[in-house]
């Protein structure tokens, strides 16, 4: 016989299957950091921080940065960056404002009011889509670094916002439009929505075969979160509309990344574009699409922000891009791409939001707030990288 003798007993056979009782501590690390921060803030504000009213406000403040952070997570995961979101928020808000005030959509009444509001919101999103399309097109077609393109877009969109608004605030906007940023679901509806989502997540987890330790922790966490949300929203005025939108996008963002083919492709592109391409992943299409979606989310955020303020400011949304990037990074996503989660970014957005909210409650001057926030962001990321290295 000419064949080779390979003694299989000498070769260690691999154990198939996944880790059963291991925990994904990285996710919970962000969570613990958030809980510690909230505890400290509660202590420093003598409990005010934990009141239903304040927590509701906190979620309202977090909603916009959270929506941006969800989209930003995908952009960073594919190895990109988008610095233009803050300016796009302003530009789209201004466009919605111009429609509302200069074109008189705010004066429309009855059922037309809803149409007017819808048109304004749609226009805001379209502005975002156009900006995102520009970013995505330049990045995929001409292979210019995303940092440069979106930096340019950041300046262009800010300039356009100032031009359209003539450099001044546009106000007041219509009540139907403001609903998007200011209103709440009624407490009864809120109970249904919050506990419905909580129940769905629980059922999914319970149906999963071969539960690991982290699955049980996750179920406990779900119960806890549902309870916390009911306490927050029922103790005040119900579920704020921006938070409802944030939640919907958050769930979608998590599911797409975890469960779908697209999610796998996104992680592969960020991890190694050459290998992803060779394996047949349509890199250009996905990259382009992700910038467009982030643009649309920025447009929607612009509409929500101007609705919340009852006015469109061309200077709104300044440094929003940095808050979104910070949220993503605090949530454990690698700036190099390929590694990260949407739920981490959501926690990151709450981390930054709590910091802002808590310091305002304590009457820390805004100048000092910036310094403290910067220091804490650096510390959080340093701690995170140190932890991952030591693993």
């Amino acid at each position: 016989m000419n064949t080779t003798v390979v003694n299989s007993s000498e070769l260690e056979l691999s154990k198939s299957g996944t880790k059963r009782f291991s925990m994904d501590w990285k996710v919970y690390r962000s969570l613990f950091a958030l809980i510690i921060l909230m505890a400290v803030l509660t202590f420093l504000t003598e409990g005010t921080f934990l009141s239903s009213r304040n927590l509701t406000n906190l979620t309202r403040q977090v909603a916009i940065n959270g929506i941006l952070a969800i989209g930003m997570t995908y952009v960073i995961l594919i190895g990109g960056i988008d610095l233009s979101v803050g300016s796009v928020v302003a530009l789209s808000g201004v466009v919605a404002g111009v429609l509302q005030v200069n074109y008189g959509l705010a004066q429309w009444t009855e059922s037309q009011a809803i149409l007017g509001a819808g048109l304004s919101i749609f226009a805001a999103m379209m502005v975002g889509v156009v900006c995102g399309t520009f970013n995505g097109f330049m990045i995929t077609r001409f292979r210019i670094a995303p940092f440069i393109i979106t930096l340019g877009m950041m300046v262009i969109a800010r300039g356009l916002a100032l031009i359209f608004a003539n450099g001044a605030a546009i106000a007041p906007l219509g009540d139907a439009f403001n609903f998007l940023g200011q209103q709440y679901l009624s407490p009864t509806t809120s109970i249904f929505v919050v506990s419905g989502v909580g129940a769905l997540v629980m059922i999914q987890s319970l149906l999963k075969k071969g539960k690991s330790a982290s699955d049980y922790v996750f179920m406990g966490f779900t119960v806890l979160m549902t309870g916390a949300m009911l306490y927050t929203f029922l103790g005040y005025r119900g579920l704020p509309i921006p938070v409802l939108i944030f939640g919907a996008f958050g769930i979608a963002g998590i599911l797409i990344l975890q469960k779908t083919r697209l999610g796998r492709f996104v992680l592969a592109i960020g991890g190694n574009p050459e290998a992803a391409w060779l394996a047949g992943v349509p890199i250009r299409k996905i990259t382009f699409g992700i910038y467009v979606v982030l643009g649309a989310l920025a447009g929607l955020s612009g509409a929500i922000l101007s609705a919340r303020l009852n006015g469109a400011l061309p200077t709104a949304g300044e440094l929003f891009e940095l808050d979104a990037i910070a949220a993503v990074v605090i949530g454990g996503t690698s700036l190099l791409g390929g590694i990260g989660t949407v739920r981490g970014s959501i926690l990151g957005a709450f981390f930054i939001g709590s910091l802002n909210n808590g310091m305002s409650l304590m009457d820390v001057s805004e100048f000092y707030q910036k310094v403290i926030k910067g220091v804490i962001i650096i510390f959080a990321v340093w701690f995170d990288t140190r932890q991952s290295k030591s693993k």
């Binding site: 080779t4 083919r261 290998a275």
Partner: protein, 526 residues
Amino acid sequence: MELKKELLLDLRNITKTFPGTRALDGVNLQVHAGEIAALVGENGAGKSTLMKILSGVWPEGSFEGEIYVSGRKQNFEDTRQAHAAGIAMIHQELSVFSELSVAEHLELDHLPGWINWRELHSRTQKFLDTLGLGLQSTTRVGDLSVGGRQLVEIARALYRDARVIVFDEPTSALTEQEVVRLYTIVERLRSEGRALIYITHRMDEIFRLADRMIVLRDGKNAGELSATNSQGQRLSRAELEPQLITWMVGRSIQDIYPVKNTKFGDELLRVEKLTLRSPKGKVLVQNLSFSLKAGEVLGLGGLLGAGRSETFEAIFGMLHGSGPRGAGFEVSGNVWVKGKRKDLNTPKDAMNARMAFVSEDRKGSGLVLGQSIRSNMSLPSLVAGRAGLARGYGLAAQVLPDREVKETGRWAKELRVKSSNLDQAVGELSGGNQQKVVLAKWLMTEPEILFLDEPTRGIDVGAKVEIYQWIQKLASQGMGILLASSEMPELLGLCHRILVLRQGSLSAELGADRATQEDMMRAASL
């Protein structure tokens, strides 16, 4: 030969433990002046760890054992002290700074704070002239080829007058001409009385250069062979190789190459007049035509840069404008798959035509190193919709984790991927196991035509043999296999026919039964 030469390097009883493993266990290594000692062993045998200890990367105190250079005991605290003792490493991945000049590289360790450029260049150029390697002190290192950069590293070692020089896989990225030049240099260094340690996976190099072969296995000395017999005559490869391989893998392997498949089927692939131009207009592949039958292993040989990989990339759609290599590549020619003409623009098109491509560069285009074995294995099947890994259509299709674990687990077992579990990052695996993951991920897509580009580069003998067996097994199952390799024995041992390329065009087609390495060499270089 009768004179006992000076013992330049003596490593005694080196033991190094990492948490959980003993990387080195009482290893001894002696190298004399004017000697080339080949250090051989599979990946993970402890070669790199031993060299890190020798070069001071692992400082005194982090290991047990003693290092003697020219009879004096050394205690290296860092790499600088190893340099000072006359030890130099020529690394596999060259650690050069592409913006710096050759002169700056030579004096990198002791560049003065204020540089007198004229003096620096005249000083270093004078030295370079004595070497006769054709290096200019003012050349920017980034402008040199890989071979040229390696010469800079060698020059740097000689500039310090290193007496012990370690070559770590020096030929893995060189062209044939550069390899020949390197051999001459290595032999010259030997004749100058330096002690050389040569690490390589390529057997032909070992038998050509080494005076002595030291085999490591599992962190221990497995054996040692002299290349000459007691009369001072050089022994042949056939006399040395079986013993060497037995020591390396810990078992005897009668024949590395399994029996070739003999059942052929219908034509699977026909390529006509394939031509590829680079964005700068350079012709990389010219008018290449061939056909491949089911069950056939067709070899693609030729020197580095002859267009082997480029042929694969062009057929597989790698060079389409929407890929990461960018626009500008021009591909022309016709491809028939099972008698049907196909336009293969992107890798996805090729995958839909039941092709698979195990690329040359595992780290570059083969694997997502930071991700798990499972994600890596399932990626192409998810794209192509094979193995039932996803439910639904398009990008929103849901990945089925249970099914994924089952399928990837099955393939990991089939190919004997050694890992702690499927969620382990592929970057943590050895080269051989990484290559098995690449092979598994493509076999999962149920291909009919398989492109293998240097499938055994940089992997150890055990894994090599397993891959050879897989090649024949797949061929006997009716797969058509295109195999590109720079190792001629590999092509002769595995293929039915061999196409030899030269500067992008077909230079000869050889039947592997009668062809010899000389035939291939002649056709490749002519």
